[in-house]
C-alpha cells in the first residue's frame, strides 16, 4: 500500500494501491521496448499499403513487427504475407469486435498484449507498427498504446479533407496525404490540401505520397528513421 497516496479513513474498506513503478503499458519482462507507431486513417486510404512499403523500406535495417486491427481479423495480415514483405511470425492480428477505434483508443489491452507477445517471441525490437482498422476521421490512437501516430488520408476523398480537420488530421504526429498520382483524375488540388493541412496542423509535419511512384514510402520511412535515431 502507498500511505503517501492518501490516509485511509477508519471506516474505509481496506484495499490496495498500485505498486510503485508498475506500468501497464510496459512488457512484463521489462527492459527497453520498441518504438510504437500507430498508423490510422479512413477505409481505403492506403494504410496497409503504407505498412507494406515501410516493411520493404525498413525491414533490412530495423528489427520490426506489425500489429493489425482490421475489422476482418486476418485481411491485413494476409495482405502483408501475400506481398512477402514480412514473415508471418512478425505479424499479429487483433480482433476489434466491430469497434476498431475502441481497440486503439479506449481499450487498448488486446493491442498491448499483441505487442508484448511479439517482443517476447522475437526478442528486442526497434519498431512496432500498429495499424488501425479503417475508421473515420475522428479515430486516433491512445498515447498508452503508441509513441507517435501517422494519419493517412488520400486525395480521392476530395481536397477538402484537411480543411474538415478532425482529431486524426489535426493532431497526428505525421499526416500522410496519399495517392497523389490520382490527384489529376479526381480533381484534387494538392496545393489546397497543403495549405489547409498547414493551417490545421500548425508545426506538425505533412507529407505527400504516391506509393505507385515511391514503393519505399521514402518521406515516411525517413521520418521514422529520425524517430528511431532520436531514441538511441
Amino acid at each position: 500500500m502507498h500511505p503517501e497516496l492518501h490516509e485511509h479513513d477508519p471506516d474505509e474498506v481496506p484495499h490496495t494501491h498500485p505498486e510503485p513503478g508498475v506500468d501497464p503499458h510496459q512488457p512484463l519482462h521489462g527492459g527497453p521496448r520498441a518504438l510504437r507507431i500507430g498508423i490510422g486513417g479512413p477505409v481505403g486510404s492506403g494504410k496497409t499499403a503504407l505498412v507494406a512499403a515501410l516493411c520493404r523500406a525498413l525491414g533490412e535495417e530495423l528489427r520490426l513487427a506489425v500489429v493489425t486491427n482490421d475489422i476482418y481479423t486476418t485481411e491485413d495480415a494476409d495482405f502483408l504475407l501475400r506481398n512477402g514483405v514480412l514473415p508471418e511470425e512478425r505479424i499479429r492480428a487483433v480482433e476489434t469486435g466491430c469497434c476498431p477505434h475502441t481497440a486503439i483508443r479506449d481499450d487498448i489491452s488486446a493491442n498491448l498484449d499483441a505487442v508484448e507477445d511479439l517482443e517476447e517471441k522475437l526478442g528486442p525490437l526497434d519498431l512496432v507498427l500498429v495499424e488501425s482498422g479503417g475508421d473515420n476521421l475522428t479515430a486516433t490512437f491512445s498515447k498508452g498504446l503508441i509513441d507517435q501516430q501517422i494519419f493517412v488520408v488520400d486525395v480521392s476523398g476530395g481536397d477538402k479533407v484537411p480543411r474538415k480537420g478532425g482529431p486524426g488530421v489535426t493532431t497526428a504526429d505525421l499526416l500522410v496525404i496519399n495517392k497523389t498520382d490520382l490527384a489529376p483524375m479526381v480533381g484534387a488540388d494538392l496545393s489546397v490540401m497543403d495549405r489547409d493541412a498547414r493551417a490545421r496542423r500548425h508545426d506538425l509535419p505533412t507529407v505527400f505520397l504516391s506509393l505507385a511512384e515511391d514503393k519505399q514510402a521514402t518521406p515516411v520511412a525517413d521520418w521514422i528513421r529520425g524517430l528511431v535515431a532520436a531514441r538511441v
Binding site: 500500500m1 474505509e12 474498506v13 481496506p14 484495499h15 490496495t16 494501491h17 498500485p18 505498486e19 508498475v22 506500468d23 501497464p24 512484463l28 475489422i71 476482418y72 481479423t73 486476418t74 485481411e75 487483433v94 480482433e95 476489434t96 469486435g97 466491430c98 469497434c99 475502441t102 481497440a103 479506449d106 481499450d107 487498448i108 489491452s109 488486446a110 498491448l112 498484449d113
Partner: protein, 214 residues
C-alpha cells in the same frame, strides 16, 4: 464493500479487452440461432445459468482466497473443454490483470489466468467481497454478449437494455448462489456446461473472417 470500486470493476468501459469478445454470440448469430431480441434472451438465460454460474462461483472463490488461484485455474480448465474458449478466457484474464495492476496491487498469480480467477483477484485487491466478485462476473458476462448483439445485429439498444433489466434479478440470484459456494473444494464448485457454446467457439476459431475474438 466499496460500491464505487465494484462499479469500476463491472463497468464495460474498464479497459480489459472485453469489447472484442462476444461471449459466444457471434457464431450463434452466424448459424441463425440468434436473429433478434428473443433469440438473444434465450442465449443470455442459458449462458447465465451455465457459464455465468461457473464464472461467478470461481470469481467469488478466488476473491475469498487468492492463494487458491492456481487450483481454481485448473478447475476452470476441467470445465472448459473448448480450447478456443480456454484461450479466450485466458486472454481476457491477462487483459484484466493489465488493468488491475494499474488500479490496485495484485499478488502474483501468473500471466494468463482464466478470466474469473483474475476478476476475483482484482476484487480482493480492491477490498471487495466474494459476493461482489460474483455479481461483477455474472453481470459482465451478460452485458458483454448483449453489447455484441447490439453491434452485430443492429438490435435496438433500448430493447436490449430492457432485456438486461428483466434478467437482473436472475443475475442477482445466480451470483448469490455462486458466492454461497465460494469456499467449496474445487471439484464441488459449479460445473454447468453449455455444449453449444463449446461447439460454436470451435467453429468460430476456424473462420477466416470474424469480428470478435470469441
Amino acid at each position: 464493500m466499496s460500491l464505487a470500486s465494484l462499479l469500476l470493476l463491472a463497468d464495460g468501459r474498464l479497459p480489459s479487452g472485453g469489447h472484442a469478445h462476444s461471449g459466444g454470440l457471434e457464431p450463434q448469430i452466424a448459424n441463425g440461432r440468434v436473429r433478434n431480441v428473443d433469440g438473444l434472451a434465450g442465449f443470455l438465460r442459458g449462458k447465465l445459468a451455465t457459464t455465468g454460474l461457473v464464472s461467478a462461483a470461481f470469481a467469488a472463490a478466488a476473491c475469498a482466497d487468492v492463494t487458491r488461484s492456481a487450483e481454481l485455474d485448473g478447475g476452470l480448465d476441467a470445465r472448459t473443454p473448448s480450447p478456443a474458449l480456454r484461450k479466450a478466457s485466458r486472454a481476457q484474464g491477462r487483459a484484466l490483470l493489465r488493468a488491475g495492476r494499474a488500479m490496485w496491487s495484485l499478488p502474483p498469480i501468473g500471466r494468463e489466468p482464466h478470466q474469473p480467477v483474475a476478476l476475483g483477484v482484482l476484487a480482493a485487491a480492491a477490498g471487495l467481497t466474494p459476493a461482489d466478485a460474483s455479481i461483477a462476473a455474472a453481470h459482465g458476462l451478460v452485458t458483454g454478449s448483449a453489447s455484441a448483439g447490439v453491434r452485430l445485429l443492429g438490435l435496438d439498444p433500448y430493447a436490449v437494455h430492457a432485456l438486461l433489466a428483466r434478467l437482473a434479478p436472475e443475475c442477482d440470484r445466480i451470483a448469490a448462489a455462486a458466492a454461497a459456494r465460494a469456499g467449496d473444494p474445487v471439484d464441488d464448485l459449479p460445473a454447468a456446461g453449455a455444449p453449444l457454446l463449446d461447439i460454436g467457439a470451435e467453429h468460430h476459431a476456424t473462420w477466416e473472417v470474424r469480428l470478435f475474438a470469441s
